[in-house]
Symmetry: C2
Subunit: 218 residues, 2 copies
DNA sequence: TAACTTCAGTGATAGCCTCTAACTATGGTG
DNA sequence: CACCATAGTTAGAGGCTATCACTGAAGTTA
């Protein structure tokens, strides 16, 4: 049992199978939603019998939890990459929309209908606040106009979620509305609520974004 | 077979059982989400064996479709009642939030994660546009400030979803942002994304509403 | 090299679920 | 009273999650 450093072939094989399982799971989720995810079907696709998967994941819930984790990680990485490329809030918003459109069900896995009993693992909240941090950075770089609102005062007293970020309350408020408004448009778009209406979701998204950044309506 | 007018006792019994089934279904959905709805469990609760329910509903999907219809109907009625009581957009917004908080899973049944294959029945779009119509009425009554945006121009050309409502494009825009922004805050609140943050969702909702109605930040 | 240990994968099984099919029983109708 | 539509039953096919005991192969150690 030398372990440490040079990973054994066993471990490598194990990791490979795990990632293949997750990949198949993502395909199933993308095509039929998370509720239709079937361990049995995945096993059959991989040419092995159902119970074999329990060597790799404790069960269906544990697999889904892992996928949720990966989804959060993916979004956080997308945001960080954009921010390191010098993205402002507008670019961040488009990065978000692109990420969501690339796999709607992945977006819904994070921000969609919650299962009443289910509790997301602790580390996802850490990733979530990492996402919030890059958003806060971008919002703090924005010129802040307008008078302070009552909600800004509320945020002054409840800024623990910002995890020590030095942004002023108005910036926190800006970040929150960014999140909620873009999620509002995006989730309705992904759910197909605009398709029957003839509206172009991209333009509505852009309009909300313009309003958010204070872009003069040209 | 006299039928017509005086409903037969058979039909009355049938209707009663149907509503009891739906009621139990709502209880299940409220406590464990729509994905956990089980015809078998409902039948067992009602003291009869599983397949008996197929006399009343074609299957699980048909039952859920009926519940979706009822949810739309309930929201439309709530809106209409508020509007007939002279509610402005602010009151309408609070009616929406109250309705959503009363049964979050019912809200998600309409506005939550969509099942990729599933298509809502035609009549729900009719109810949906009824909801939109009362929202448009309220928005048209609002004073419209601000210059016309590019998105307003887009709406000028794509106003078929307004179903002939005479409101100007700016009012249509207002109604849309009402919908998307309130949904943004509300869905994140119902999904519990604010609980770990210490933020009061009601105040965030109110802040968004103030911004929407142009209420001066006092 | 031989003995031992670890672990991937198997089939059997229990207990859910949806949904179909054939059958029984009952209550309204002519 | 005879008839028939219909509510409800059991049996069963086929799907799912999950546990268990077992096999066999691959690594490890003496």
């Amino acid at each position: 049992m030398v372990n440490s450093e040079a990973e054994t072939p066993r471990a490598r094989y194990r990791a490979q199978v795990r990632t293949e399982i997750k990949q198949r799971a993502w395909e199933q989720i993308a095509s039929a939603g998370a509720s239709a995810l079937s361990l049995n079907a995945i096993a059959k696709q991989m040419g092995m019998s159902g119970p074999a998967l329990y060597r790799y994941f404790g069960g269906r819930d544990e697999l889904i939890t892992e996928l949720v984790r990966d989804a959060y990680r993916s979004l956080a990485d997308t945001f960080r990459a954009a921010a390191e490329g010098g993205a402002d809030v507008t670019a961040l918003a488009h990065a978000l929309r692109g990420w969501a459109l690339r796999d709607p069900q992945r977006y819904f896995l994070i921000y969609g209908t919650p299962v009443p009993g289910y509790q997301a693992p602790d580390d996802t909240t850490a990733i979530s606040s990492e996402i919030m941090a890059t958003l806060l950075d971008a919002c703090a770089a924005l010129p802040l106009d307008g008078p302070a609102t009552p909600f800004d005062a509320h945020l002054e007293d409840h800024r623990n979620w910002a995890d020590g970020h030095p942004a002023p309350p108005a910036a926190l408020h800006r970040a929150l509305t960014f999140w909620t408004r873009l999620h509002g448009v995006l989730s309705l778009e992904l759910a197909g609520h605009f398709t029957g209406m003839g509206i172009d979701p991209a333009q509505l998204f852009a309009a909300e974004l313009d309003d958010l950044t204070g872009t003069p309506a040209s």
